[in-house]
Assembly symmetry: C2
Homo-oligomer: 399 residues x 2
């Protein structure tokens, strides 16, 4: 009787949301003896702590009462102006601040998009594999997920066409720059071809771009939004460039979508942190974001180089991996005889953790895959742990 009551109590959507295995792994990661390739944490050495302290003091002294009061749902206007101006400078895009909604990290933008677009059963197309947080968030709205294959240069164009043809797809969710979990970036060709196809269907694109600033070469590619602004919702974040603990991201979309997202955000939490928006804006005014990002790029590039050289040096030649040109992750495919969970069980015994790839699939998980994060481990520690891990893989292949 008790059980039955509880079953009826909760909403149907609750059963839909996958729990995060990462969350369980990360609980282990708080042990300082552990070498973690598991998280998606930016390197805290680059949090501009001193600068933010000064900015906070200035905000409290000059605008304390405003920064601590209730504020507009859309977000702090000068911060939206900064984001607008940055799109103009980087991509020559004309996005007025009114088309920018500040969110609690770009994760919240996914919730708002789910709220305004997804009826139960609507088809949503995801990259295979995709960001676990998107899987979790969009699952709340009970869509039917479809998947499109990823190649080294982005989504598979033939498969994209097949998927769009197979069913009416309401939303396509993609991460064209240095994807989580694979580190893959869509090439210029893939972007153009993807947009050519997508524009022929009644499909809206969610372009998630938390890693676009963290590029390692000089070729910055325009967002899908630049090709198809009316039907693209572009998400950005300060979590990878400034600090995730401030929980500030944003959504760019056409005015009708922004209006609806604003109503949903007001109903969901009134507005994003106002104090943090003021402090962040002060930082962006006083310091050069690009100079700050340059330091992150240089370090992550070196860490990426170390990680790739370790994979080459310590792992059997049958192990495959991506060569990320930015972002924080590489994606490893183990030989057929080994699953990533088997490897993880052994790795944990040696105080090494990573995330098995199966969490990143909407269906039919590929159990041979795993994600390695390189942003948060120094060179010596990385070499040592990767050497151990490579030896384990070799051992498992032989066994």
């Amino acid at each position: 009787m008790k059980t039955k009551t509880t079953e009826n109590l909760f909403a149907d959507r609750v059963a839909n949301v996958p729990q995060s295995f990462i969350r369980e792994i990360l609980k282990v990661a708080s042990n300082p003896a552990i070498t973690s390739f598991a998280g998606g944490l930016p390197n805290p050495a680059f949090f501009p702590v001193k600068e933010l302290e000064q900015c906070a003091s200035r905000v409290f002294r000059q605008q304390g009462m405003q920064a601590l009061q209730y504020a507009s749902t859309e977000g702090y206007y000068p911060l939206r102006e900064f984001i607008s101006e940055r799109y103009r400078q980087r991509y020559n895009l004309d996005i007025p601040p009114e088309q920018i909604l500040i969110t609690n990290g770009s994760q919240q933008a996914l919730d708002l998009i789910g709220k305004i677009f997804i009826n139960p059963g609507d088809h949503v197309l995801l990259e295979r594999p995709t960001y676990l947080g998107a899987l979790q968030c969009l699952s709340m709205f009970q869509p039917t997920f479809q998947e499109v294959q990823l190649n080294a240069d982005g989504i598979d164009i033939g498969d994209l066409e097949d998927q769009l043809w197979s069913n009416p797809i309401k939303l396509f969710y993609g991460i064209p720059n240095f994807q989580n979990p694979t580190g893959i970036r869509y090439s210029a060709d893939v972007r153009q071809q993807a947009v050519d196809i997508l524009s022929r269907y009644n499909t809206y694109v969610i372009e998630d771009d938390p890693y676009g600033d963290i590029f390692f070469d000089e070729t910055e590619l325009p967002p899908l939004y630049a090709y198809m602004p009316e039907k693209t919702i572009l998400l950005g974040s300060f979590s990878k460039t400034i600090a995730p603990g401030m929980r500030l991201g944003w959504m760019v979309a056409n005015p009708e979508i922004i209006r609806k997202a604003t109503i949903m955000k007001q109903a969901s939490d009134l507005h994003s942190g106002n104090l943090t928006q003021y402090i962040l804006h002060e930082f962006l005014t006083m310091y050069s974001l690009d100079a700050h990002i340059k330091k992150i790029q240089d370090t992550y590039r070196f860490q990426r180089d170390t990680m790739i050289s370790c994979l080459k040096q310590y792992f059997p030649a049958t192990v495959e991996y991506t060569h990320p040109q930015g972002g924080m992750f590489t994606w490893v495919t183990l030989p057929e005889e080994i699953t990533a969970r088997e490897l993880l069980a052994k790795a944990i015994e040696q105080n090494i953790i990573f995330v098995p790839g199966d969490s990143f699939y909407a269906r039919n998980p590929d159990t041979q895959t795993l994600r390695l994060n390189y942003s948060n481990v120094d060179e010596a520690t990385m070499r040592k742990a990767m050497n151990t891990l490579g030896g384990m893989v070799a051992g498992l292949v032989e066994a």
Copy 2:
């Protein structure tokens, strides 16, 4: 064709969410010539700006990297310990920190509750009138709303029984302390009787308590949670006591509900602002929250007294109003000949605004009612504007 496409594009829930008329009124309020009784803004004179500046500096210097990093969905543990300990001190309640989830203001707790409980069509019982933000938030989940009448001492017990009898009610949403919009507090008797009845049904209680700290007399009454902890979800907020711009509130519930709410929160925005949680916790450690609240109570009590004396002195005797013993609002019922919107139209001409009561009803709005906020207007300004408003009412009655 275009229109049809757009109609099909958005989710059904979008049409359900009422837009906030308050939002429109508050846009006028930014004009400094306006006397506003419209908002629900705490008085910024009590924001502890200097103290928070010091606390922020300390956090940046001592825990900067942790405070700026990604954090657990549940919230900063020491902050949850503080809230736990405060419930023990105030009400002798034993609520472990594990049963407390930090949210982006208590508004977000409503979103999480909607996510875990409400299937479309589920019955949700609201006070009549109720908090507009709850109407908006819960509407996203497409429930069937029912209403229970409010008397001067809380919900009408007979009506509560009728409503619970009429349909299976999944959730009852109430604000027992100094309700928004009416200022009404449930008496000890009403609390006991309400809980006696509610415990006989399969109904969970959302007890929203943003104003409980802002009491004007010495009689603090225990929350409904104290009577019925298994079936009550108690919401709290720092927005009325410290500062709303930090967006920090919390949810107390049984472990199963907290677990499900945590999964939903992770999917929705990963976690609440970490930096602000550290700063707030530093404040709560370094300063006395009760001493701070005492200053707010003293001022709001005086402003409440002024407001009530104005209503008595300047308004026709046929005007009725509540006598709040705490919180930020009084609720006015105009004589039958006048609607609040008529009065507002005239008031705006004289640079005075308030919120017509019709926004606060799930159905069949009472157009004679209006909400007056007294927390944010000084005595002289209040007297002048209330004198004008009273004269208008008298004029409209005679006309």
